[in-house]
Each structure stands twice: as structure tokens, then as C-alpha cells.
Amino acid sequence: MTTPDDTAAALRDAIRSTDPRLSKFRPLPRILAHDDFNSGLHGWVELGGNYNGKGEYSSLDRHFRDFRPPQLSNCTFFDVGTHGAMSGTYALKLATRPHPGHTATGIRRLTMSGRGLLQIEAYLAYKAEAVVDPNAEDAFGDMEWDGNRHPSESQFGAFTVATDLCGDDGIRYHTVVRYQNADEDGNMLRQWKYPVVPEPTPREAWEGKVDFPYAADFTAPNPEDWRVYGEPQELCMNEVPTKVNWHYLRWVIDTEKRKNVEVQLNDQLMDWSDVPVPIYEERYGSLENLLNFYFSVRTLSGQRNFLYLDSVVISADW
């Protein structure tokens, strides 16, 4: 039997299918944000560490000081000029420094007006910086130039999408999805990963519980705190660092249950309902109904790594 909710959903789908900007997404009923970077940054900003009341640089955690400002990129490369984005000319670009372990991060800050399913969708591409140097190596780790394979592919470390959520009297937690493309030696991993500990916070650093060096993996600094999900998935790097192919990412969590639900990357749909969500033991103030999403990109090779976002949709069923 068709219910009024079914009819409403079918009507939403029909209307959305006529809109070329939104028809490439599958949002939940309430769209909180539709970020097309042809019209600016849409609130995506460098994740900044916490600082003291005097605004002193020295009060920032070392590993939180340098997450780099996002860039509005027209995807220009040395060989082809301006590539452009999937939708129009501009994409949001996160770019690391050329330093092993360095992370660039863009965060979007919202709050929750309800609880239930929450979804982020994005069209993304990832690249290591191109090299134009007759003295450069033609191989890195598992990748040696053979007309199809290119060392650039193994110079890309990882990209991550994650949340920072808090509510119900200061219960704070993160959900995290990472695609680990390669390790620091260029061994191809192509693994989905998640951490089993919550991210170390500036309060823990202020309390003297943690202290991490520059370029530590801020999401979960100890590699032993990461677990592999499922089997490796090969993505479309497309042979060289100057071809941009856009991938569809969709990730659903449940803020009522504080659980993961599912992750989709192109044609691979992954049940993440059993992936644990570590919750901070202590309660946090000043964060009631916190709803943050961030994307990050981390180089392990030391080559600059880039994550491009063509567009992002955040939606909810509440």
C-alpha cells in the first residue's frame, strides 16, 4: 500500500531528477547543505586548533597548527591547462605541504536540530602533485612507470571523511571513514579504515595527557588504533597526476543511536553498521548539538597530496 510518505518521497525524487545540480545526489529528505564550489567556500574552512584567551600561537597543539587553508581550484595542470571541475569550473581543493605525514583539513560546522539519519555525499578526486623534473625517479614503491602505471599513484597517502558530534549532556564522539591508498613506502593498500579510539583533543593536550609532534595523524595518531574494513577497493586515479576523474561518495550515520550505517564509493556499497564508534569517556561543554563534518588528506610520501571536492550535499531524515 502506498503511504503519504511514499508519495512525498516519489515527488521529491521526481522534482530532484529535473535539477542537473542535485540529480547526481541521493539526499535524505531534508537537505541541510548543498555546496557547489563555483559559488565560494560554503563554510568549508581549515580546521584550527584551540588557543588560549590571549590568542597565542604557542598555546596551539603542534600537530593542530598547520592544516592549510582550502583553495578554490580550477584544476589547472602543467600539461593540459585548466581541467575544470565536474560541475562548472571550480572545486574545493585541500592541499598538504610536501612533508611526510602532513595533513590538510577542511571542516564544515553546523549544529543538529534533531536526531536520526545523517548523510554526506560528495563528488571527489585525489591526486599527488605532478612532477616535472628530468632527474626525478620513474618509480615509487609498487608503482613503476610502464605507460599505464605511474609513481604518482603510490605517492598519494590517504583521504578521510569524518564527523565531530556532541549532544545529550556533552556526549561527544567521532565517526570516521578513511581510504588508505598507499603507505609511506609506496606500497599500494587501497584499504578502507576506521579508528577505534576518539581523536585526541586540545583539552587532553592542555591537561598534559597527550602531546603529539608536528604532522602526527591527528585523527588517531597511533597506527595500531586503526582497523581495516573489508577488502581493498581500487579507485580511478587514471594513470597520471593531471587527469581528474570524479568519484561518488555517500556515507550515512545515525545520530540517534550514535552508529555508523553504510558507506558507498561508486559501485561499492559497504555495511558499516558494525563499525564501532568510540565515545569520549569525559563529557564536553560548549558543544551541545555539535555537528561538524571534515575532509582531510594526508601525504605519507612527502609529495604534496590533494583532495578535490566538486560538490557536497549534507542531508538528514529529521
Binding site: 559559488s39 565560494g40 567556500l41 581549515e46 600561537y57 596551539l60 597548527r65 598547520d66 592549510r68 587553508p69 583553495q71 578554490l72 581550484s73 580550477n74 589547472t76 595542470f77 602543467f78 591547462g81 585548466t82 569550473t89 571550480y90 581543493k93 592541499a95 605541504r97 602533485e129 605532478a130 616535472v132
Partner: protein, 109 residues
């Protein structure tokens, strides 16, 4: 409304030698202005030069004149007709002390 972006490119740079900021994409912007702020007392002089690039890999000096200033406070320089990539090269004179430097790029459509 015109698009705009302020990018903090260096937050706590200790200037001991010539330093170039990370490549920054500016294709969308029509105006650009650098701010260089010395957050702690220092001494000596620094020279600021804008550089441009076709693809973010190879850099060349912008045709505008470099700006040489004494270390201290907040200094600024504008750059026009800069193309799609921009970075700032900061060159300290010999013996310069500049322990904590913030470099900001203000862009406007």
C-alpha cells in the same frame, strides 16, 4: 556580492632564511593583498616578492616591485594581474631576527 577569501598561509613561521609560501590557487580572484605580521619583537629587514606560476610548479617573479621593510608590526603589499597561482617569497637580510611571522593572503573577486 563579490566572492572573497582570507587564507592564513603561515601561522608561526620562524624566518631564518628565504621562505616561499605554499602554492595558492587564485584563478577566481581579481584582487590580492598580502599581510605579513611579526608577532614577536625582532630586528633587521625583510624583502617581500610576489611570484606567479602557470601551473603551480614553476615560479617567476611578478613584475611588480619588491617591498623591503623593517621587521616589526604589520606590513602589507598588494599585487595585481597575478594569474592563477600566487605565492610570496620573504627574504631576510643578513642577521635579521624574525621569530614568529604570520602571513595572510586576502583575495577578492
Amino acid at each position: 556580492m563579490r566572492e572573497s577569501q582570507t587564507a592564513v598561509l603561515e601561522r608561526g613561521l620562524t624566518l631564518t632564511e628565504e621562505h616561499a609560501t605554499e602554492p595558492f590557487e587564485t584563478a577566481w580572484a581579481g584582487e590580492a593583498r598580502w599581510f605579513v605580521q611579526f608577532l614577536e619583537p625582532g630586528s633587521g629587514e625583510v624583502t617581500l616578492r610576489s611570484q606567479v606560476s602557470a601551473a603551480g610548479l614553476t615560479w617567476v617573479d611578478h613584475e611588480g616591485d619588491p617591498l623591503t621593510v623593517e621587521v616589526g608590526g604589520l606590513v602589507t603589499a598588494s599585487v595585481a594581474e597575478f594569474g592563477h597561482w600566487l605565492r610570496l617569497v620573504v627574504t631576510p637580510s643578513e642577521g635579521t631576527v624574525a621569530p614568529l611571522v604570520r602571513i595572510t593572503l586576502a583575495l577578492k573577486e
